[in-house]
């Protein structure tokens, strides 16, 4: 089974902790890493890349000291190493312009407003990770119990 990582980024430790806890159902299949800032997130990304593992999904807050979430996700979008990596913006404080930039410059796959519903976050993460696994051609059978049905069926139809 390949090592696929979900990276969560938030400067508020308690919020970060909640996100990670909500993702607990996925932890049997994916690694979950946490970063308190965009800088730290980039370090983790580099490290995982060096180990030859996958970054399946990045969930980031927007307003953080230093680089913002949209800037971080934009940098990930432009980085060839993370061409297929899925991105979720999870924020309570992004204004209209930020949101537009998130779509145009970072191609976020999903936008969650705080407070979020854990089940929605997990369902979306599952869907995006399913797409990631299929896109990367990773053996999907290993992840069967956690995959999103609709996304899987859609992909296998064409197989």
């Amino acid at each position: 089974m390949e090592k696929i990582t979900i990276l969560c980024v938030d400067d508020q430790a308690e919020v970060l902790d909640s996100v990670v806890r909500d993702l607990r159902p996925l932890q049997a299949f994916f690694r979950v890493e946490e970063a308190g800032s965009a800088d730290e997130a980039k370090k983790i990304l580099d490290e995982i890349c060096r180990n030859g593992d996958y970054i399946g999904l990045v969930i980031s807050d927007h307003v953080m000291p230093g680089e913002t979430g949209v800037e971080l996700l934009g940098a990930i979008f432009r980085d060839d190493r993370f061409a297929d990596t899925k991105k979720i913006l999870l924020t309570g404080q992004a204004n209209h312009a930020d949101t537009i930039r998130a779509i145009n410059e970072a191609r976020v796959d999903n936008y969650f407003e705080k407070p979020w519903k854990p089940e929605d976050l997990v369902a979306t993460a599952k869907k995006l990770l399913t797409q990631f696994i299929l896109k990367k051609g990773i053996e999907y059978k290993d992840y069967m119990p956690i995959l999103d049905q609709a996304a899987l069926l859609e992909n296998l139809r064409g197989a």
């Binding site: 049905q149 069926l153 197989a159």
Partner: protein
């Protein structure tokens, strides 16, 4: 790679290497180094496919490479300063080149075998049908007559799934049908057992439907290839002649079984499949090509003079030229399935061309065994294995062996339909393994919906497996009496070895001409 997988791989490797050092003479067979290597490769392939330390198609590829390096006429050798220090091609005992090396070209050709082309043609048809929504639109069109009574909708779904999986991959068909079904099933009561009936119906119908045509599922291809090598080819039309009625009967029986095990309480249901038939020029090319190809397959070469393998290449050319299938579509095809099948072919080649089959069969008096018992025994082993591993891998392993055995039996099988019946029944048995979520990808998909538990799947899977096998043998006997199958050319082994058995000359039948 996890530790468990690495461990599995190591165990398989150790056992395979161990096979190189077994005292074969004491078993009563005399084998040379090349034959022993083939045995080791066979064991390695079997264990890799059963334990799955690697994806099964990679094992296939590995088998071909391994055979090229160790048992082919272009095998591995080291030389230094003109002296050959080590060579896979020479016998260290005598210093002479082995006489039973396999042609490297022949091994490589397994990937371009006509039957691989037949399959690839099937892939082109399926890809084009999916791309131009022919599958969805046909599903909607065909579902209509089944009304809104859930019982008949269930039958309709099974019928359509079976028909589609005759031409498309079982997995793709199941995925499509489950996607159609998912929104409807969510409207069922949690307590309605009928949900399980619907969820199970799809993989059952997909697995069963695959038996209907030579391109329905890879085990059929592997059996066809073995038959072709024994000059007992079955044409596309002939296969459908018995395959389709078999599918019809088994689908009906499965339907009744599902209704009995999982009664549906919902009084009415409606399936909404959106869209309409595309009318663009390319879509029309797809419709016409599809129809013409299937017609040519069914009519066979008796009428049009081209065999089904060549027919399969016509849609490839048409779709490529008309850009119905683009480079991206081409690259997206299931090449892994073709490699898997080719690996099975290569094992067969190794078994036959090194003379290993001959020698083993010479050592075991198969011909003295009851022919029917052999046929049933082969089927049962095959069915059992297919429940735990890939259908294709099962067929790839067992078909070459059973083909060799069947060939040695000579005429004693003729009353049952000859070696053709034997191999078709083995192919069918490999498609009937469907009692576990891991048995087939369609089963895994249905199980992942969460609507059916392992127990329910096992109950129906085992029942359908047994019913299907019984039905297969009944049908084979009936077909033999009708004289549908060509008798096989018996191997030399049969005539030289069989001690104390009567050798019955092949009975010429009028139904199909002997090729060559």
């Amino acid at each position: 790679m996890t530790k468990v997988k690495a461990l599995k791989g190591l165990i398989a490797l150790a056992l395979a290497v161990g096979c190189l050092f077994l005292p074969y003479e004491s078993f009563g067979v005399v084998l040379n180094a090349v034959e022993i290597r083939v045995i080791a490769i066979f064991v390695l392939a079997a264990l890799f496919w059963i334990l799955e330390p690697f994806p099964i198609w990679t094992t296939s590829m590995f088998v071909i490479v391994l055979m090229l390096l160790t048992v082919s006429d272009k095998g591995l050798m080291f030389s230094f300063g003109g002296d050959t220090l080590f060579s896979m091609q020479t016998d260290p005992a005598t210093g002479e080149k082995f006489s039973n090396l396999v042609s490297s070209k022949g091994l490589m050709a397994t990937f371009a075998d006509p039957i691989i082309m037949l399959f690839l043609g099937g892939f082109f048809l399926a890809a084009a049908a999916t791309k131009y929504k022919l599958d969805m639109n046909l599903a909607r069109f065909l579902l209509k007559p089944f009304g809104t009574n859930p019982k008949f909708v269930l039958l309709g779904l099974m019928t359509i799934t079976a028909v589609f999986s005759m031409f498309m991959s079982n997995t793709a068909t199941a995925a499509m049908m489950l996607a159609i079904l998912a929104p409807v099933l969510s409207m069922f009561d949690e307590s309605d057992k009928g949900r399980a009936a619907f969820a199970l119906a799809i993989p059952i119908a997909a697995n069963v439907g695959g038996m209907g045509t030579p391109i329905g599922t890879p085990p059929n291809a592997i059996a066809l290839k073995a038959l072709a090598d024994m000059d007992a080819s079955v044409s596309f039309g002939t296969w459908m002649l018995f395959g389709v009625p078999y599918v019809v009967i088994l689908i009906l029986l499965s339907w009744l079984l599902l209704l009995w095990l999982f009664p549906i309480s919902k009084p009415k249901m409606e399936l909404n499949v959106g869209g309409e038939f595309l009318k663009t020029p390319k879509a029309i090319i797809v419709y016409v090509t599809f129809t013409v190809t299937v017609l040519l397959w069914v009519l066979g070469k008796d009428i049009v003079g081209i065999d089904s393998n060549i027919v399969a290449m016509i849609p490839m050319a048409v779709f490529a030229l008309s850009q119905v299938i683009t480079k991206k579509d081409l690259n997206g095809m299931s090449w892994d399935v073709l490699w898997l099948v080719a690996g099975g072919f290569a094992l067969g080649v190794g078994l036959q061309k090194t003379g290993l089959a001959e020698h083993l069969i010479g050592a075991i008096p198969f011909a003295s065994w009851p022919a029917f018992g052999l046929m049933v025994g082969a089927g049962v082993i095959c069915l059992f294995m297919a429940n735990f591993m890939s259908h294709t891998a099962t067929a790839a392993l067992l078909v070459p062996i059973i083909a060799a055995v069947g060939g040695s039996l000579g005429g004693s099988l003729d009353g049952l339909g000859g070696v053709t019946a034997l191999l078709v029944s083995v192919a069918f048995a490999s498609s009937l393994g469907m009692s576990l979520p891991i048995s087939t990808p369609p089963n895994a998909l249905a199980h992942a919906t969460g609507l059916v538990d392992t127990k329910g799947m096992a109950k129906t899977g085992v029942a359908i497996g047994i019913i299907g096998m019984v039905l297969t043998y009944v049908m084979m006997i009936v077909l033999a009496h009708l004289g549908v199958f060509t008798p096989a050319k018996t191997t030399d082994a049969a005539s030289v070895s069989a001690q104390g058995t009567t050798i019955v000359a092949p009975v010429a039948t009028t139904a199909a001409p002997v090729a060559k």
